[in-house]
Symmetry: C2
Subunit: 214 residues, 2 copies
DNA sequence: ACCTGAACACCGTTCAAGT
DNA sequence: ACCTGAACACCGTTCAAGT
């Protein structure tokens, strides 16, 4: 082998310790939970001294912020991929919601870090903030497009976006924490979203419901 | 003072260390976050040795399980109180949802422990499990009653309960973690719930929506 | 530029010993 | 019955020193 294609273990140490630490952290969160994640264990897993991570991340929180940012980028990509080539904005909205819940179920470690109370404030982490905003924007776009084409009632789009987001976020967190039945592996998330959004959808529809004030 | 009305500090040590530890834990979670809670700090706050808590709780998790159980009982009580004397099941449903979100905002420490991933499995903590089931039951009752009186469409009540729960849970967690605007202090939670449930409500209504399949 | 090893102030948990 | 103090194996973080 030439000087480029070195042994992976060696390349790790010199090449991309930062990336290796992120990967190791993710795996450890998956197996031990976020609360059980220690920086020392991450270093150990990568085969480096316990002080080495500090050359790449200011502290434990900075490592986690990088994980969270990575997560929002992946979420954004996953939701985009699901709507690629889908023209009907109602279906785009549905696919965005399904993508959100599926991402949470398929990447639980990422999802938990992304919404950890540690990042209540995202402003100290601009990359994280931007990635989160981009993902949220997809939901917004889908709903505004539904309004534009007359599929959703006009008016307060923000309230609709918040309701839709809260719904899928609630489903995702409850499924993830085992408080909603997950009937058939990952597919169950989809059914949950379909059933719930079908109900919510009636409220979003453009035809004002016949009066039955309550 | 007689032998009964002793100094509080003294009474603490002999009387209700268990209760004092629970209170102290709650306060520390509020100020430091759940991740920052240490059993040693709890003991320190109560003025007792770091080993003393182990005479009342098997470990850190057992202490937190007791906090969570307490929280579900309080949630149950808060939702009950809001529906006391309310006859219309639609309004009972709305008040139950508002009670849920308000509880989360008013008792953030409790709420976070109640839904901590640490208690993904509640079966090892029977008291916690029972308290959680009782609280969930209130939502269920309200929806079933709406169906019984013809206010909600008949059929899969469970799907409706799950959708309603996911919605209020999503609102509660997003507000709590600062990802939804909290316009005017605690009241904002109510407005959020009202706007979102108004949308969801259209889907729950008994009158099947005119076809517009999507 | 990147990594290490020792050091410090913390943890959770156990256990013999005290009252 | 209830609490303490010492002990052990962990942490996060810092920093001088090595290559």
């Amino acid at each position: 082998m030439g000087p480029v294609a070195t042994d992976e273990r060696t390349a790790y140490h010199h090449g991309d310790l930062r990336g290796a630490l992120l990967d190791a952290a993710l795996q450890l969160i998956e197996s031990e939970g976020l609360a059980g994640l220690s920086l020392r264990a991450v270093a150990r897993k990568v085969g480096v001294s316990h002080a080495a991570p500090y050359h790449h991340f200011a502290d434990r929180t900075a490592l986690l912020a990088a994980v969270a940012e990575e997560g929002f980028q992946a979420l954004h990509g996953a939701m985009l991929a699901r709507t690629a080539g889908v023209a009907d904005p109602r279906q785009r909205l549905r696919e965005t919601g399904i993508g959100y819940v599926r991402f949470a179920l398929e990447h639980p470690a990422h999802f938990r870090v992304m919404f950890s109370p540690e990042f209540r404030e995202r402003s100290p982490h601009p990359g994280l903030q931007a990635a989160a905003a981009a993902a949220y924007g997809l939901l917004e776009e889908a709903i505004v497009e539904c309004q534009r084409r007359g599929y959703a009632r006009p008016g307060d789009a923000d309230a609709m976006v918040r309701a839709a987001w809260a719904l899928v976020h609630g489903i995702a967190t409850l499924l993830l924490d085992g408080h909603l039945e997950r009937e058939e592996g990952l597919r169950a998330g989809e059914e949950q979203v379909l059933a719930a959004t079908a109900l919510l959808w009636e409220g979003l529809k453009s035809r004002p419901a016949p009066s039955d004030p309550v």
